[in-house]
């Protein structure tokens, strides 16, 4: 199979972003060189005040860069007209349109504005684009509902449908999962992945949720106040220690073995665990919560061994049996009282 290079949707060259305050230029991030490719979902991650929103606003065209430039579809942004821009990048922001009596289909239809004439009259093509946008986001049945009456997740979908109707190669979403419940988050992220894969959209989201970003994005853009922007694919970033490095000094530590962020405190004990999956995973999970580190080596004073079916779980200290639990639930219920007296 030939290697397919995904076409570049957006590329920055030495882009310095910031804002003006009292006539002074305040630089937030310097000399950013990043590329957003079609068919890719990129997550822009960083704490508040790290320049996440400034970068999004700059790339979406709401504010000019301090210096440097970026290209959309291989063309410098300065050559873009208002209308061309509207046909290239669409946005989904945390602020929701809350106008009275605004229906889902009104909102989605607004996505066609860059294509309709002065009167705003919809052509056949416009109407097809609108219904396609609603069906790919699963909101066709809600087309006549008022936006005010929808749940946060449904409203988020309606806004994404607006972006799809806008028919732009690039979609930028500011915290698309922030107000959603857990299943809602997963559904939205899944939808965005699908859009990237099947419609070749270049999608950039900002998020606080690093777990969600690691799980779903093709690429991460990490920003922080004192470090330059770090870009890469999640797994290599984790394996080569970049993620760990990036988050050190922020009181959390990235555990490369579990893909989790833990509070940066020394473990009380080290134990090794011998069990089958999924029990191994959940035993580790429970032990980690009690600040007990599970190591892969067996050179630890403590060993926990579970029988294959998980019926008997035993704790050994230097090969001496200390405690036996009769089954999983017995272990999970009572292990903490024992381990704290080890």
């Amino acid at each position: 199979m030939n290697q397919i290079v995904k076409p570049t949707a957006l590329a920055t060259s030495a882009l310095t972003i910031g804002y003006h305050q009292n006539g002074q230029k305040i630089t937030v991030q310097k000399e950013i060189n990043i590329t957003l490719r079609q068919g890719e979902l990129v997550a822009l991650i960083g704490p508040n005040g790290s320049g996440k929103s400034t970068l999004l606003r700059t790339l979406a065209g709401f504010q000019p860069p301090i210096s440097g430039d970026f290209q959309l579809l291989g063309r410098g942004v300065k050559s873009y007209s208002r209308n061309e821009w509207a046909r290239t990048i669409s946005i989904v922001l945390t602020e929701m349109p809350r106008a009275d009596k605004l229906t889902v289909s009104d909102l989605v239809a607004s996505g066609r504005s860059p294509y309709t004439g002065f009167s705003g009259r919809l052509s056949g093509t416009d109407k097809r684009a609108i219904s396609l946008a609603m069906s790919s986001t699963g909101i066709t049945t809600m087309r006549n509902h008022y936006l005010n009456r929808l749940s946060d997740g449904e409203r988020q979908r309606a806004l994404i449908a607006k972006s799809l109707a806008q028919d732009t190669p690039i979609i930028m979403l500011d915290e698309p999962a922030a107000f959603l419940d857990f299943p809602g988050r997963i559904r939205i992220m899944h939808l965005l992945r699908e859009l990237a894969r099947h419609q070749q959209k270049a999608i950039m989201i900002t998020t606080h949720d690093i777990g969600l970003a690691l799980q779903y994005s093709d690429r991460l853009w990490l920003v922080s106040q004192d470090k330059p922007l770090l870009e890469g694919i999640p797994e290599p970033l984790a394996l080569n220690g970049n993620l760990q490095q990036y988050f050190t000094g922020q009181e959390v530590d990235f555990d490369v073995n579990s893909g989790k962020f833990l509070l940066d405190v020394p473990p009380l004990y080290n134990v090794s665990v011998e069990a089958q999956l999924p029990l191994h995973f959940w035993l580790t999970h429970a032990l980690n919560r009690h600040q007990i580190n599970v190591t892969r080596t067996t050179y630890t004073p403590y060993h926990i061994v579970a029988t294959c079916s998980g019926e008997v779980i035993s704790l050994f200290k230097e090969e001496k049996l200390i405690k036996t639990w009769v089954d999983e639930s017995d272990f999970f219920e009572h292990f903490s009282t024992v381990v704290f007296n080890m």
Partner: protein
């Protein structure tokens, strides 16, 4: 199934509403012609209007010189104020916005106050309080004041990015003009003051037959211009960022909206005095009745509903029980406020 119903029902409901609106307008115009201090029977009305059958010169005079101009003024002013209010509500995405929110009608008040109250101290009172010339100067003063404030707002609009800051500035300009009016009032003689207070209560009956043509022309010009902004207003409703991302030039759009809404407000306030409430309430009524946020429908429907409500208020103000004509601003709120209150309770259920 309730989900899919509106697609079938809505267009027919809306057309029915529009048609009944037109019929109601016609009926209200006729009712306005029949009502007043002189009794006119439907027969007499028909004869004198069409010219067939026996006509009576007194009745013809009453009809064509007073009642018909007044009905047409009410219709046109109601339509214009409602559209101006709708535009302000959509621009600022604020249900409390109305045509006077940017201080434009306060500007008109200031213009009139300067004319009536400062003239009142000199010998000009007599010349002002009577005759067509007096009315014309009042209209001109109001228009000048309103346009002056509108220009100030437009200068602000060109430099200030944020809609809400512009709104606050507009309200502040309104307060400044208001207090200027207050100071003028404090130093003016009783008769002039009374005349100013009466102007301030608004009336659809001050536009004489000879001046009606220009008033109607200007207002209809403003109404047509507003229709051209339907797409712009739909985008504005989504918020500045979404509108900009959809290709709208926000500053230009805002300028046009203020210009047209302000023009309508200035003209109507100049001719009729400040008419409260219609511009605030009618857009709400229209949105609820037509169940839409689309300005392609809201603009003409607000104009229609505004005309109807103004005619209704004009009728109510001149009911024989009142022994004359009540001030129109008092009646508009009295008739309209309960409707809005009812709508809010209905919406909360």
């Amino acid at each position: 199934m309730t989900v899919n119903q509106p697609t079938l029902k809505r267009p027919t409901v809306r057309i029915t509403l529009l048609i009944s609106g037109f019929i109601l307008t016609l009926l209200l115009v006729l009712a306005n012609l029949l009502t007043g201090s002189v009794d006119i029977s439907p027969d007499q009305l028909l004869n004198n209007l069409t010219g067939f059958g026996p006509t009576d010169s007194t009745i013809t005079t009453i009809l064509f010189k007073f009642r018909l101009p007044q009905a047409i003024t009410a219709l046109v002013a109601g339509a214009g104020l409602s559209v101006a209010g709708l535009m302000m509500q959509s621009l600022f995405r604020n249900p409390l916005a109305d045509p006077s929110i940017l201080g434009i009608s306060s500007g008109a008040s200031l213009g009139v106050a300067i004319l009536i109250l400062s003239a009142g101290t000199g010998s000009g009172t007599a010349f002002l309080t009577s005759g067509i010339l007096g009315d014309l100067t009042v209209t001109f003063a109001a228009l000048a004041g309103a346009i002056l404030v509108m220009m100030i707002i437009i200068v602000f609009a060109r430099t200030i990015q944020s809609h809400s800051n512009l709104l606050i500035l507009g309200i502040m300009v309104g307060y400044i003009t208001f207090s200027a009016v207050g100071i003028l009032k404090y130093y003016s003689p009783r008769e002039a003051l009374q005349r100013f207070v009466i102007w301030g209560l608004g009336s659809f009956g001050e536009v004489s037959q000879s001046r009606l043509g220009l008033f109607v022309l200007l207002t209809i010009l403003g109404l047509f211009a507003s229709i051209l902004l339907a797409k712009t207003l739909n985008l504005m409703l989504l918020g500045e960022h979404y509108a900009q991302n959809l290709g709208l030039n926000i500053r230009k759009a805002r300028l046009f909206i203020i210009l047209i809404s302000g023009f309508l407000t200035a003209v109507i306030t100049a001719y009729c005095g400040p008419v409260a409430f219609l511009g605030l309430a009618v857009p709400h009524l229209t949105r609820n009745l037509f169940q839409t946020s689309s300005h392609q429908l809201l603009l003409p429907a607000s104009a229609l509903l505004g005309g109807i409500l103004a005619l209704l208020c004009n009728l109510a103000a001149r009911l024989p029980v009142f022994n004359g004509t009540l001030p129109i601003s008092a009646v508009t709120a009295l008739v309209g406020a309960p409707v809005v209150i009812w709508l809010i309770f209905k919406g909360n259920k």
